[in-house]
Each structure stands twice: as C-alpha cells, then as structure tokens.
C-alpha cells in the first residue's frame, strides 16, 4: 500500500501486513462489485412519453389537456374582470392584484406567467398527443377523434393568450424547445382558425364516440362528449375567433374583409350549439372538486373578492342578474381610496362551483355582436331580437327598440352591457370586447391616488423569463 513499508528485519510484520493487505484489498474489491448501484428512477413523478400505446395513456393525455386549460381559468377571469372594471381582489396579502391590472404590470410578477406558461405547456401536450396518436395502433376513426379534440383544446389555449396579449402578439408553438418569433395578432388569429378548422375536419371523420371519457362538465348542461356534439363546441370557438378576426383587424383590412369574416363567424355559429331562445345555461363547463389532486374554484373567497361598485351603479333598474352580487363586508384599499366595495359575488357560491367555458347565453350574445357588425336592417332586427330575448329571460327586463339608440355605438354598448351582466364573474370578455371595439378608454381610471400615466393597461406583459430568453425588454411582433 505504501512504497516504504519494507523495514529491515521485520519479516514477521511483513507477512502479517501482507495478510491484512489482502483482506483490505478483498473487502475493497468486494464492496466495489457488490455495491454497483442500480439506477434509481424518478420516485415521485411520471415522465411524459410521446407515445400513446393504449387507452389508459390516452386518457391521461386527454385529462391532462383539460387540467391545463382549467389550471388558471379562475385566475384569468379575476385579472381580466379587474381590467374590465367588474371585479377586485382587495387582498392585504398582495396589493399587486389591484396595483397591476389597474396600474402597471411587471414582467417579473406572477400575473404575467400565470396567464402564459400553462397555456404553452398545454399546447405542447396537445402537439405531443397528436404526434403520439398518429404513430399509435388506434383506429383511423379514433385517431381523427383524438386529433380533433386535441387541436380544439390547443386552439382554446391560443384564445387565452391572445385575449391577454392582443396586439402585442404571441409566439406560435411548433415543436418542443423551438423558440419562434412573436407573431402579430392577425397571424395568431389565423392560426387559431386553422387549428379549429383542421379539428372540425378530424371530428367529422371520427367515429361515434371518443376513445376516452370526458368529465361531467361536458354532459351536465347539454351533451358534448361525442365527436358529433363536440364539433358544435369547436364551431362555437370558431365563431368567436372569426368575429375577432373581423373586428380586431378592421383597421388594417378593408370593410369587405370584415364582412367576410363576420359571415364566416355566422356560418360557424350555425354549426355551433347556439340556439335562439334555447336554454341559456346549455354549454361546456369546467368542474372543480375538493378531492386530493383535484382543483377547487379559486374565485370563491368572500374575504378578498369584491364586485366593482360600478357593476351595481351602472346596472339597469330591476335587472335580475344583479342577484349575482349582494352586499357583504366592506373592503377598502387604503393606498387608494377609490378602490372600495362591499359587493360580493354570489354566482360562485362554493369552492366547487363550475365555471363555463362557453354557454348558449354567451353564444346568443356573440351572435348579436356579430350581426351588429353586418349593419343591415334585417340583421339589426335579428340582433335586437336576440338581445331582447336575453334581457327578458336573463334579466327580466323589458324589450328595447332600435329607435331608442342614438348611434350604432349605443347599440353595440347595449349588446356589450348584456354580455357584462350575463357573463359576470364567469368570463373576461368585457375587457376583450371593449378593447376590440376601441371602447377601452371609456372605462376610465380606477386608481386616483396615483393613476398610471397613459391609462390602465389593456394587456398583460410578457413573463420575465420569456423576455430574458429572447434578450428583449419589450416584445415586438413579426407580421
């Protein structure tokens, strides 16, 4: 073991040492061999495989897509409803819930990444699923059904991110790890339409049933759990996106292009589950549960969530939808006396209250919103009838007549007003609509103590990680 252990006249020692050295060497060798460690797998989590070998794996993918879509839904409703002046989260623990949506967003704050990251992971999941199912041994019909489902959910994710980023644009995901340039809004909306259309084609080629099961939110208010029914949900989203393409791009395209888009929207609407005069609550819902590993509806907490007092003060007298709010404990935001409310929401009444993805009530009003843009006498009559139907059935309000509106904008505002109360605390569309129709400035300032220069934000910033990875401080889109 050492070079200098040979001492003169120490033969006995040498022998004994040699013996011990043998023992030590054997022990060493034995432990080296005996202890060759088996690899230790990840003991806590599965690793996602791109392959879909069987129905069980397929189910985890399909559920995973819905898990992803649901993850921040309540949070996004909160942030967009704050920006759209319907809600506050007055939370001593985190003043950013007020300071940012009504003042200025910071890329480093969670509001940016909560409304971004999960959607791209879900898009990646959908792309993986499509790749996996195509390479699998499932039947052609099943493959088509899965593609149709996956791409519809994928499109829905883009709707979420473009709703919060609008003209800033967002990147379009192509493959895992690829950082694509930021696409401007028109290209993004095009992409969403293409995804939905491709999904529609697949759903048409699918069999009678999905090869996986869907949660109760797809069957509780109507039936949307077969490809033939699910495609009506797909078309409902398509109608919305065509409308966006019509109104949102009207400045850069000619009037005829706008009309073309609105017509496409109406065609899609016809193929959706929209039913004039039909049950308002028919639609697709995300459900929540207190089971282990499941999610609860985060928008139930009367200690911090409040309705913006304008929801009450700007309502038409006798609107039955005001039952969605009631008087509770007063909350104020001492840093800005203008932020105060004692109105709590009643329509999210427990941690397991479902939240709609889209309902017939929204679709009826969406249809009215599209028809308004057609700007013809017959279509005006049509949208007025739809609006009066909602006024009557949802709000218990009397009918309006066209002559009562001084301008076309006044007509639009009536439609948007119905949307506000029908979708209150269940959708962020008030912000999206006001922004799209150029009415955002009319929402005014909420903060008075130190109002943001240039008004409150219309969009949420990019997450810091996205900016850092791109080496930029502000996103610039490529048309």
């Amino acid at each position: 073991m050492t070079p200098h252990d040979m001492l003169p006249g120490a033969a006995r020692t040498r022998r004994r040492f040699a013996g011990w050295a043998m023992v030590a060497a054997c022990a060493a060798a034995a432990s080296l061999v005996a202890c060759s460690d088996n690899p230790i797998p990840d003991l806590n989590n599965p690793t996602v495989q791109p392959s879909v070998p069987n129905a069980a794996v397929l189910q985890t993918y399909a559920s995973g897509l819905l898990v992803g879509d649901r993850e921040q839904l309540s949070f996004e409703i909160l942030v967009l409803e704050t920006m759209g002046r319907d809600a506050y989260r007055i939370d001593p623990a985190d003043p950013r819930f007020i300071q940012m949506p009504l003042g200025q967003f910071s890329p480093g704050a969670f509001l940016s990444d909560f409304t971004w990251n999960v959607h791209y992971r879900t898009i990646k999941n959908a792309v993986n699923l499509v790749t996996g199912i195509d390479a699998s041994s499932f039947s052609t019909e099943d493959k088509a059904a899965v593609r149709g489902f996956a791409r519809t959910i994928q499109a829905l994710q883009y709707i979420h991110v473009i709703d919060t980023r609008d003209t800033v644009g967002v990147p379009i995901f192509t493959a895992a790890g690829v950082m694509n340039p930021i696409s401007c809004r028109p290209a993004v909306l095009n992409h969403i339409s293409a995804l939905l259309d491709s999904a529609k084609t697949d759903l048409a080629a699918a069999g009678a049933a999905f090869p996986f099961s869907l949660p109760s939110g797809f069957t509780s208010n109507g039936t949307f759990n077969t490809p033939a029914e699910f495609v009506k949900f797909n078309r409902a989203l398509a109608a919305k996106v065509y409308m966006y393409r019509g109104y949102a791009t009207k400045d850069s395209t000619g009037a005829s292009a706008v009309q073309l888009m609105l017509d496409s929207a109406l065609i899609a609407m016809t193929a959706s589950f929209e039913t004039d005069g039909g049950t308002l609550r028919t639609g697709i819902f995300h459900t929540y549960s207190t089971s282990s590993g499941d999610l609860v509806n985060q928008n139930f907490d009367n200690s911090v969530y409040r309705a913006n007092p304008k929801v009450q003060s700007q309502a038409e007298g006798g609107d039955g939808r005001l039952s969605k709010i009631t008087t509770g404990a007063a909350l104020s935001f001492p840093a800005d006396a203008a932020i105060a409310s004692n109105l709590v929401f009643t329509n999210v009444s427990s941690p397991t209250t479902p939240l709609p993805i889209i309902t017939n009530e929204e679709l009826i009003l969406l249809k009215a919103q599209i028809l308004w843009g057609k700007n013809t006498a017959p279509t005006d009559a049509q949208w007025l009838a739809l609006v009066n139907d909602i006024r009557n059935r949802a709000g218990g309000l009397g009918a309006k007549v066209l002559g009562g509106f001084a301008t076309r904008t006044a007509m639009l505002r009536e439609i948007l007003n119905q949307k506000r109360y029908s979708l209150l605390w269940e959708s962020g569309d008030r912000l999206v609509d006001f922004r799209m129709h150029g009415l955002f400035p009319t929402l005014g300032q909420e903060l008075v103590a130190s109002p943001p220069a240039g008004g409150p934000p219309m969009t949420i910033t990019y997450p810091q990680a996205e900016l850092d990875a791109r080496g930029i401080t502000a996103p610039v889109c490529t048309p």
């Binding site: 806590n44 189910q59 559920s63 890329p107 480093g108 999941n125 207190t290 909350l331 910033t461």
Partner: protein, 1003 residues
C-alpha cells in the same frame, strides 16, 4: 509523532508497554502553570521514539526511557505543548503547562482519517471549542458560531424558537444546489435538511396546500445538544474539504462529541451538572403607524364602522394598540437541565449526558422543547483493538406558529399591516373582536395565536461505531486499520390544527384545517480505511499514508395529508370533508475511494499533503462514472525568524501555507429527469408536461479552491494572527435557467457557467499583557477578532442573463423583479439584486445580498473567580428586500411616513422602483456572559464536600441590534435556507433576546 487523534491514546499505551528498547525509569508530574493543579490526561512522549505515557489523576507519569539525554514532548488538550530535556542522570521531572488560549494545539483534520495540530496545518481550518460554544445557550449550534469564525456567515431565518439558521462559508458556492455545508458528527454524515412543517395548508403562501419553502422550517442540525460537543472544525472551501468530495462544496462542519478520554485512565467519574433558567423578550420591532383620531374616523368609516365604535376602540388602546408588543410580548419561563458523566477505567472511557430544555417563544403557543440522551463509549478490547460506540437519541417538539408569506391574511405582520393600529384586537371576556379591515369577520391575530396549533415533533437517533485495529506499531512504523460508520435517522411529525371557529377559516368554503405530515430520513455511511506511518532512521520526517473506501446512502420520504372542512375538536385528518395527500421520496447512493500521502518533516516544521478522491453517485446522470477530487497542500514553520524578532514585532514562529483542492456539489436525484405534472380531473389522472426539463447527463458542480496565507505566533505565544487569501472557482454550475415558456417548458437544467469567489480572512487572537490587577489578582484578557471579505462574480454563463425566480421543483424563491430578485449575469456579482426600473420593463441593479465584509469581536476577561465574555458581530453592507414594508405601504400603515407609506408604494426615484431593497448591515451583541466560580470553601459548604467546583453565570444572546434596516431583523429569510436568493423579508417571526441564569457544578 502525529497520527489520527483517535489512535494517539491507543498507540501511546501500546508503545509505553514496548519496554524492550527502554533502559531507565523516568517519573514525572504535569501541572497547570497558573494554578498548580495536576493535569491528568497529558501525553508524554520521548521525542524521536514511540515511547510515551499518559498522566494519571494526580498528573503523574512513568516512562522507560533510553539512556542518555532525552527530550520529552508533553501535550494536552487545551494546553500548549512543552518540550523538556531530561539529563542522562535525571529520573524525576516536573512539567508545567500553559493554557492554549490561542488554540495552536487543537487537532484539525487533514484527511479522511488523519489530523494534525493546528500549528502545523496547511489549511485555515477554523475550530471552536466547547467553552466557546456554551458561553450563552443557543437553541441550535449554528447560532453559537455567529461572529466566531472568519469566513462563516451565520444568519437566522427568523426569530421563531427552535433554530433555523444558514451558514454560508466563503460566499455563494452554488445557485440552485444545496445551500448548506456538510455536517459530520463523530464520523457520521448527518442530515441538515429542513422538512417544511406544512403551515402552507393554512397560509397558502405557495398557493397549493402542500408544505412549502415559505413555512419557516427548521434545519435539523438544531437537534444536537451544544453541551455534548467537544469541538467544531469548519472546513471552508475545497482546498480543505476535498476529502469529502462531492458533498463538500459548501464546506464541511466537523463536530466531535465529548468522550471520557483524557481523564487519566484510573480516575473517578466526573459529573457535570448545569441548570439554567431564563426567558426571552422581543428584540426589535417593525413599528406601526399611529393614527390621529381624524384618520381613524376616515379609515373606520370606509369599512362601515360607526363613529361611536371607532371612538371606543381608539380610546381603549389610548389611540395606539401596539400589536407587536401585545402579540409578541410573552416572557416565557425557559429552562435547561444538562447532566453528564464521564470517566475512564482500565481500557474503558465513557461520556453520557442527559438534556432537558424548554425555550418558549415570545408569541403565545410557540416554543421549543428538546430532550436528549447520549452515550459515548470507547473500549480497548485487546492491546491492538479498540472500539467506540456513540449513540444519541433526541426528541424535540417545536411550535413556531405561523409567519412569513401568506395569501389569506392571517400571519401576524400581514394582519398588522392591514389593520390600522387604533383597532383594539385583544380579546374581551374571551371574545375576539372581529376585524372589519379585512372583511367580516376578518382575521384576529390573537385568535390565531391562541387557537392555531403547529406542533412539529422529531425523534432522532444518531449512532456511530468504529473499530481501530493496530496491525503493528514498531519503533519507526505503524499500520492501523479502521472500520467506522453509522447512521442518522429521524422521523418528523407535524399536525397543524386550525379550528373552524377561526374567523378566516370559512373563507375558502371549507372551514377548519388539519394536517398530518410524516417524514422520515435516513443517512448512513461506512468507511474502511488504513493508515500507515513510517519514519526513517534519522527520524527527520514522518510519512503517513492513508487510503480507504467510503459508502454513503441517504433516503427521505414524506407524506402530508391536508384535511379541510373539519368538525370542531376533530384533529384526525381522516374525518375531513376534503382531503389532499402529498408525498415525496428521494434516495441516493454513492461510493468513494481515497488515498492520501502526508509528509511531516524537518522537526515537524514541514507538512506536505497530496490526496485524491474518486466518487460515484446515483444522483449523477452517469451513475457509474467516478469523478475525481484531488488536493495538495504544503506549509512550513519558521521558528523565531531573525528578521521578525525585535521589540516591536516579536514573532515566535511564522508558517506560510498553500493549499489547493477540488470538491463537488451533487445534483439532486431528480435533476436528471424531466418529470411530468399530474393532477386529477373528475377522478381521472391527467398528465401535463413538466415545467422543468432535466438533464440526463447532469454531473456535480466542481469547485477548485486555492488558498494561501500565513499563521504567526507572536510575543511568546501571547498573540497569533492568521491571514488567508483564497480564490474558489465553481465550474459546471448546475443551472436551472429560464427558457422562453412559449417553447413548452419554463426552465431547463444543465451544467454550465462559473462563479469565482475571491476573499480574504484574518483572525487575530491576543492575550494583551494588561498589567492590571485588582485586589492583588491579575486581569487576563483574551481577545479574538475576525475579518472576512468575499466577492463572488459570475465569470461565465452559457445562457442569456436571467432572473432566478424558482428552484428546481418550481417553487418560488423570490417575489419578482417588482420587489427585488437575483439575476445571473456574466461579469456581475452573483449576489446582485435587481429590481424593476424605468417603468417596469427593464431591471436595474438595486442591491447586493452579500455583505461588504464581516467582522467578529470575541473578548473574554478573567479576574480571580470572575469571567466575563462578549461576542459582537458586525456585518457591513448586504441588502435585504423588505417586501413586508410594501404590504404596510399598500395599506398605509407604515410608521415612517405621514401617509403611512402610501406615497412610497408608487414613488419612483428616477432610477427605478426598487424602493424596497434596503441595506441590511448590522451590529449585534450576540453573546454576553458573566460567570463567577464559587470559592472552594463555599462550594464545600453548599454541596457538603460533594462538588468539586461550582459556577454561577448570567448570560444573554442577541441582546442588542444596531441596524438602519427598517424591518424587524436584517437577517431574516422568507424562503429559508437558499444558496442564492436569501434576501427576502416578508412578515417574519420577529427576533428575540434571550437571558439565562445558570448554575454549573462538577462532582
């Protein structure tokens, strides 16, 4: 002669009996130079031979010495070595020894199995001895190190009872890897993990209900009993810690517990008894805004209170309810009882101890209770074989309440921030007032403190065993083989109970929360090593060769069940209406082989060492690959150099030294995988891609350190100075770098990038000749001053600069650039803190988490039977992000501005919005103690002759803090121990000062 300290007594006994070479009999006596007391346990060796003896109870020894004039070397722990010449005709010697106040004789580790006296060491290894550790009682041993070691920054994560400290040795050595040094107790690698207690189930700090890094958990080194510790050695960087390979990148803390050895071998047992009684009190406050009556009306009316109610509350506290005083105003009765017995008898030596202590907190329902039993046993089985067993059983119960970040407005500082201080929250007739300032009924922090239970119980067993076999021990060579190992296993149980009657509990629709967290962890290691020594005929030098194998495994499992919607009085999680279960399992195995050669030559003046360690571990991407960690060092003692020897600067000896070495930091077992996320949706298991992409080829971070300096002893041993310069470079950093989330993952793990730490450390120890005397007795003054400065720079980064927001599991480690966050950037300080500036888009440097320098001042005065000591700790610079203040500002309740800070919340100083990044330097009086040793006749009277000595002592810890930092404490960390992001202050448990009165007696 120098060999492993464990082998010294054995070899001494052995060689003393090898009388064949000895020719004559020499008898002697060893005594303390100051007191004349006999010194048992001193080792007496004939220089140049293996002949030696150990003194007995009466300080006497007997030797069979060679003919002619001989030189005796006498050594004893705690004393300076003495060389005595014995003439050819002399047969009786008397040796007096001086106390080693400068610790030159302390043994320091040089290899896996070898050690050397500090005067020879080629590394700057810091040592702290028992008497320095227990001057002022501390709940956890790290706090007893504050201010005592140059290059060790010891900081408390909160003021909650029970511990929770971070030791950072020579700067930031990893970004995402383990932040803590390796702890080795009597050869067993022990766990310093912090199992988070899961208060997140009620605070929702991390927004899920599983335990989170914001739960203010205690790192488990707190379980050790400081009274059991004989010495602590701190290896500060790779040049010394290379012997521990890939676990040693953050340094190594080597703890030796007491033994019965050194008592002389035939003595009667020594019984030590310490009884302490003390208390705690709030040390420092954040301060609260005082409201004028008019402002109170405005605030009260805004939440719907009527004028009469406002006025009534305003008057009940005299206009100002000092919630901090009221909530943190407890003065618990704390105590500590420590009983130990040690002794040695013909081949057996033992140390046994019992501990029972309670350290109550300054908030109701908080406290720390610890009980421990230890038995250390060493037995010489045959003259060649000795075995040692060390066993320690500890039970601790920690209750720390709730503090830190919180998303449901219940932790004390959050409630204080949003409640204007005129609102009286104290219970009246058993009824807790509601708090309309956070809804109705809001949150009452007194109700929370009274009814929320957070018991965290740990049972722990640390066992070490070793067997040393002397294969041969000859005149000029020896070989011994040592097999040692042990295990550290603990189980931890936490049952958080938050009854449904608490005002906030109904907010989530599921009133009442109970949890059941159960964690077990085991670390085990064994080593097989051989040490061979050889010296040539000339005896000019000694070669020590050591080699061996080390096996280490670790495994941790935890399960946390969280139940909501629970009936009142129901503490079983199973009865909850909604139950969530979380589980975690980590495991790793490693094997290392090492070889080392040491040369001690030229009359013990030269020490040269080379060593190599090769190691594999299952946590690495390639789990069969061996990574190597070499080291080399050299030092030389120049005795009384003429150049440095005159009246101004009289240097006894000076030792330049140089050491270089490599160590590593293992990846976490999970980092080679890309785990998917799972969640259930309506009973179906749903899988989504993970946020973090792993690296299947992950390998350890490698640290290369070069350290050089000198140690000098001056003025006849009355002063010593250590000076060290070092550079440590960490390559192949394990980075979790941000990716564009739009690529489908938010972060990716890979090796890459480098950090370079450069620094200087000095320690000056002096015993100034005071010439002062009172009442005819001289005053002895011992003073130690440490200085350390470290600068860490990111010298390479393979990815664009990015902010460090989350750890490898995706848990947050910061609250975003809006407040202040770490950002890795090539060419910049690794500890820089950046914050949003220029209207939110860009980030600017706002501070530096690392201090400019640290200094520690320890002083001890001895006069007659009195001893007084102090430790003062100075941190110059360093920044903390005071997120707490933002919460106060947002609710206009900060004490320092007319508008309660509302203006600050939105102000922009032109450079950016980083108004919450504050300088966090401080001076702290860490320790103060005054002890009085009772005169022998009084001891005799009191104890009726049964006690040998008795001492009374008053001591305090963290008595004063001077800092410009506006928050409660410039040390706190919301995210607990962190490699990098350890600078966030958010609603911490405030610090306290502790006082103890003690009686210590020896029997």
């Amino acid at each position: 002669m120098r060999v492993s300290r464990l082998v010294i007594p054995l070899l001494a006994v052995l060689v003393a009996s090898s009388a064949a070479l000895a020719q004559r009999r020499v008898v002697g006596r060893v005594a303390d130079q100051g007191t004349g007391e006999p010194l048992p346990g001193a080792s007496v060796v004939v220089v140049g031979t293996n002949i030696g003896a150990i003194t007995g109870d009466n300080g006497a020894f007997v030797l069979r010495a060679p003919d002619g004039s001989i030189a005796l070397l006498v050594r004893r722990i705690g004393y300076k070595r003495v060389n005595v010449t014995v003439g050819p005709s002399d047969s009786v010697v008397t040796v007096t020894m001086q106390r080693d106040v400068l610790q030159l004789e302390t043994q320091v580790i040089t290899g896996a199995a070898t050690s050397v006296a500090k005067r020879n060491a080629a590394n700057d290894v810091a040592t702290v001895t028992a008497d320095q550790l227990t001057n002022a009682p501390s709940p956890s041993i790290e706090s007893a190190l504050s201010g005592k070691i140059a290059g060790a920054q010891v900081i408390a994560n909160s003021g909650a009872p029970g511990g929770g400290n971070q030791i950072r040795l020579r700067g930031v050595t990893s970004v995402f890897g383990s932040a803590d040094p390796l702890y080795v107790v009597d050869g067993v690698i022990i766990s310093n993990d912090a199992i988070q207690p899961g208060t997140n189930a009620i605070t929702a700090a991390a927004r899920s209900s599983n335990a989170s890094n914001q739960d203010n958990g205690v790192n488990r080194i707190a379980d050790l009993n400081p009274n059991d510790i004989e010495s602590i050695e701190v290896l500060k960087g790779a040049s010394a810690s290379a012997i521990y390979g890939s676990k040693a990148s953050n340094g190594v803390v080597i703890i030796r517990t007491k033994s019965g050895a050194g008592l002389g071998g035939t003595g009667k047992p020594v019984v030590d008894f310490i009884q302490r009684v003390g208390t705690r009190g709030l040390n420092r406050k954040n301060g609260l805004r005082k409201f004028k009556l008019a402002d109170a009306y405005t605030r009260g009316t805004a939440v719907g209170l009527d004028s009469a109610t406002i006025l009534q509350s305003y008057n009940s506290c005299g206009g100002f309810c000092d919630y901090e005083e009221q909530l943190f105003g407890e003065h618990p009765l704390n105590y500590e009882t420590n009983l130990s017995v040690r002794g040695a008898n013909s081949g057996t030596s033992y140390f046994a101890s019992l501990l029972n202590m309670y350290d109550g907190g300054i908030q109701q329902n908080t406290g720390y209770r610890k009980q421990g039993v230890r038995l250390n046993l060493t037995q010489t089985v045959t003259p060649k074989l000795s075995v040692q067993f060390n066993n320690n059983v500890v039970r601790s119960l920690t209750r720390r309440g709730i503090s830190n970040n919180d998303n449901v407005n219940i932790t004390p500082y959050f409630v204080m921030a949003f409640t204007p201080s005129f609102w009286d929250l104290r219970p009246k007739n058993g009824v807790y007032p509601t708090n309309p300032f956070v809804g109705n009924p809001g949150t009452n922090p007194f109700q929370n403190a009274a009814l929320i239970q957070t018991p965290d119980e740990v049972w722990r067993l640390i066992s070490a065993a070793s067997a040393t076999y002397s294969v041969f021990a000859h005149d000029r060579s020896s070989l011994s083989v040592k097999l040692d190992g042990g295990a550290d296993r603990f189980s931890e149980q936490v049952n958080v109970v938050s009854p449904r009657t608490l005002y906030f509990e109904g907010n989530d629709g599921l009133p009442g929360t109970v949890t059941s967290l159960s964690a077990t962890e085991i670390l085990a290691n064994w080593n097989l090593g051989a040490i061979h020594t050889w010296t040539p005929e000339s005896r000019n030098w000694l070669a020590t060769t050591s080699a061996g194998l080390q096996r280490a495994i670790s495994e941790r499992r935890s399960t946390n069940a969280v139940g909501r919607d629970v009936l009142l009085g129901q503490e079983n999680v199973d009865r909850a209406a909604a139950i969530s279960i979380f589980a975690d399992h980590q495991k790793q195995r490693g094997l290392a082989a090492y070889a080392q050669e040491e040369l001690l030559g030229r009359d013990e003046r030269l020490l040269a060492t080379v060593g190599l360690r090769a190691e594999r571990n299952t946590a690495n991407g390639d789990d069969g690959k061996y990574y190597t960690f070499p080291k080399a060092s050299v030092s030389y003692r120049f005795l009384t150099p003429t150049l440095l020897n005159h009246w101004l600067l009289r240097v006894d000896e000076i030792k330049p030294r140089l050491a270089v070495g490599q160590s590593g930091n293992l990846p976490l077992p999970i980092e080679k995988y890309s785990p998917a996320l799972t969640a259930t949706y309506a009973g179906q298991n749903g899988v989504t891609p993970g946020r973090v992409l792993g690296d299947p080829n992950i390998k350890p971070e490698t640290q290369t350190e070069i350290e050089g300096g000198f140690d000098a002893s001056m003025f006849d041993g009355k002063a010593s100075i250590n000076f060290t310069l070092y550079q440590k470079t960490i390559n192949d950093l394990i980075l979790i770098f941000a990716r564009a989330p739009s690529t489908g993952a938010e972060a990716q793990i890979r090796n890459g990038g480098s950090i370079r730490n450069r620094g200087a450390e000095t320690m000056l120890a002096i015993t100034p000749p005071t010439h002062l005397s009172f009442g005819g007795s001289a005053v002895q003054w011992i003073s130690r001053t440490t200085f350390a400065k470290n600068v860490g720079i990111v010298t390479a980064l393979p990815v664009p600069a990015y902010i460090v927001e989350r750890d490898f599991t995706g848990q947050r480690v910061a609250f975003g650039a809006g407040y202040g966050i770490a950002r890795l950037e090539k060419g910049k300080k690794v500890t820089q803190i950046v914050a949003s500036c220029n209207n939110g888009a860009a980030v600017c440097v706002a501070g530096d988490a690392a201090p400019a320098f640290n200094m520690g001042f320890s002083n001890e005065l001895n006069w007659k039977s009195w001893r007084a000591s102090t430790v003062l700790d100075w941190q110059n610079g360093g920044s903390l992000v005071d997120v707490s203040q933002d919460v106060f500002d947002a609710f206009a309740t900060s004490p320092d501005k007319a508008d309660g800070g509302a203006a600050r919340a939105t102000e922009n100083d032109g450079k950016g919005n980083h108004q919450y990044v504050y300088k966090a330097g401080f001076w702290k009086l860490r320790e103060l103690s005054v002890a009085y040793t009772l005169p022998p006749n009084l001891v005799n009277t009191i104890f009726q002759g049964r006690a040998a000595t008795a001492r009374l002592e008053f001591s305090g810890r963290n008595l004063f803090t001077w800092s410009s930092y506006p928050g409660v404490d410039p040390e706190v960390s919301n995210f607990g121990n962190q490699s990098l992001s350890r600078f966030v202050d958010l609603a911490p448990f405030p610090p306290s000062r502790t006082f103890y009165f003690s009686l210590a007696a020896s029997f």
